[in-house]
């Protein structure tokens, strides 16, 4: 019996060891998932990008997913941006244009237009919280344009740009073709309508363009500067943004000069864009592609073409200039990819951004799982052995019981009979056996 169990036990252990080694070897060679992490820089205490990407902008009654505002006689008021659950910061308490006299207002997707007398507001509902204001004066008369700040304060002034911030969030107000603004100092904290109120006033002679943009991309300073300077100096001609949620795509384009941008997304990975301008001069375009549209993780993933010719990728953003060669720089933003593209000249050109889908080797999946298999095998083996041992033990005890029963029965009967007989016969048989053996 012992021998049998040894055979069983050994073979079971051998089996389990063999199977375990198969499993271990196989798991090591399973296909690797395609994965890559690319660094995302977070703006210091910046807006929740996750929140941003899940929404697509669009105004409804002047309230959008990111931006909200009100209208007043001379412009807009309470221009705020949402930064979290029911939390918002006010960027501009008021933006007023002298003699605005609003006559038309409409919403087109992410853009809200406010048309007034010789002036147009464009408000964009997206994380960049873009705002554009075009003003032109009449018959040589000057017009006053005033920006009254909300929760933010002036941080920096430069020719063509004022940077405002509340410590956490920052934005740039860029102005072109207008004289240096006059920024009155608050006197005793009570000047011009309230504590900490700050104004940025402009006097427009002729035409002027004002662009406000929040810094939410989490970019390095270098890039922030590039964008700022680009917008300020007019090097960046326009910005195009595309994002999606579920199957809806939303595009917004802002032009800082005479520029029109139209795009189509094909097959979910090819952005075909047409840019045109009456102005022949080349410019740099800022393409903001949300990761919800294309999840670009490295420069090798994209292929950019300019009029069907491959454009040059420049490693360093500082190398990007308006040159004869169509080139670009690719930068990862907080929730998407930013491409700065140099368009050498105009009339109409096509720019294609193609996300090369990798032949992802989907990890081969196996049903095999050692966590389930091995313990089950061991438990089954254990139960089987226990069962067999139990059987052997119960068989032995049954036999023992039987023997005991025999003895006890025999004794009770012997008491009635001649006890002598029993011992005699036992001895006799023993002797006989002994003699026989000899």
């Amino acid at each position: 019996m012992r021998k049998k169990f040894t055979i069983l036990g050994v073979s079971l252990i051998a089996l389990i060891l063999m199977l375990s080694s198969i499993a271990i070897v196989s798991s090591g060679s399973s296909g690797s998932y395609y994965s890559s992490e690319h660094e995302r820089r977070h703006p210091p205490g910046g807006m929740d990008p996750g929140n941003m990407t899940r929404k697509i902008g669009g105004f409804e009654d002047r309230i959008g997913s990111f931006v909200s505002f009100e209208t007043i006689e001379d412009g807009i008021a309470n221009h705020s941006v949402f930064i979290g659950e029911d939390e918002h910061i006010s960027i501009f308490d008021e933006i007023s244009v002298e003699d605005f006299n609003r006559y038309d207002e409409r919403t087109a997707g992410q853009t809200h237009f406010l048309n007034g007398h010789g002036a147009e507001f464009r408000l964009f509902d997206n994380p960049s919280t873009m705002l554009k204001l075009d003003v032109h004066s009449f018959e040589g008369a000057d017009r006053e344009v005033s920006f009254r700040l909300g929760d933010m304060e002036i941080e920096e002034e430069k020719d063509g740009m004022v940077r405002i911030s509340d410590g956490t969030y920052s934005g740039n107000l860029i102005y072109r073709d207008v004289s240096i603004p006059s920024i009155p100092d608050p006197i005793g904290g009570d000047a011009f309508g309230g504590e900490n109120a700050e104004f940025i006033n402009f006097t427009v002679e002729g035409r002027a363009t004002f662009i406000f943009r929040m810094e939410t991309d989490g970019f390095r300073d270098e890039i922030v500067n590039f964008m700022r300077e680009g917008m300020r100096k007019g090097r960046i001609g326009g910005e195009f943004r595309i994002e999606s949620i579920d199957d809806t795509y939303a595009q917004t384009s802002f032009s800082y000069r005479d520029l029109s941008m139209e795009a189509q997304l094909r097959d979910g990975n090819k952005l075909e864009m047409l840019v045109s301008s009456q102005d022949e001069e080349g410019t740099i375009l800022h393409l903001d592609i949300s990761s919800s549209v294309m999840d670009i993780s490295s420069e090798e993933d994209v292929e950019l073409r300019f009029d069907d010719e491959i454009a040059t990728n420049l490693e360093d953003i500082s190398d990007l200039e308006v040159t004869d060669e169509p080139s670009y720089t690719l930068i990862h933003g907080e929730e998407g990819t930013h491409i700065f593209f140099n368009v050498p000249s105009f009339s109409t050109h096509s720019i294609t951004v193609e996300h090369l889908t990798e032949v992802v080797e989907t990890a081969e999946q196996f049903f095999g799982s050692l966590i389930y298999y091995a313990p089950t095998a061991l438990i089954t083996a254990g139960l089987v052995i226990v069962g067999l041992l139990y059987k052997e033990r119960s068989a032995k005890s049954r036999k023992k019981d039987k023997k005991d029963k025999k003895v006890s029965m025999g004794e009770s009967f012997d008491k009635n009979n001649d006890g002598e007989l029993k011992s005699k016969s036992t001895e006799k048989s023993k002797d006989e056996r002994a003699s026989r053996k000899d």
């Binding site: 055979i7 069983l8 073979s11 798991s27 049903f367 298999y373 089950t376 095998a377």
Partner: protein, 91 residues
Amino acid sequence: MLLEMIYNLSFAVLTVLALVLSVISILAYRRSKKKKLLFVSIAFILFFLKGIWLTYALFYMPIEGWEPFLIPVAILDCLILVLLYISIVKG
């Protein structure tokens, strides 16, 4: 997930039990020397081989291409049952 668990548990039990029964039937054949039990032994050995094959498929064959690996299983099952049938019919 559940499917994975079911396959793993059942193949583990199957293989172990088949091995145990193979050993018992081989010992029984050796003791009784009856041809019947030779067939039974071979049947259980095949059953055990089936278990090995299924375990191999479990860990080595990707889910997408699983169907072909059931062919030997089907063949083995037939052989096993034929052998058991013979063992019963043989007096």
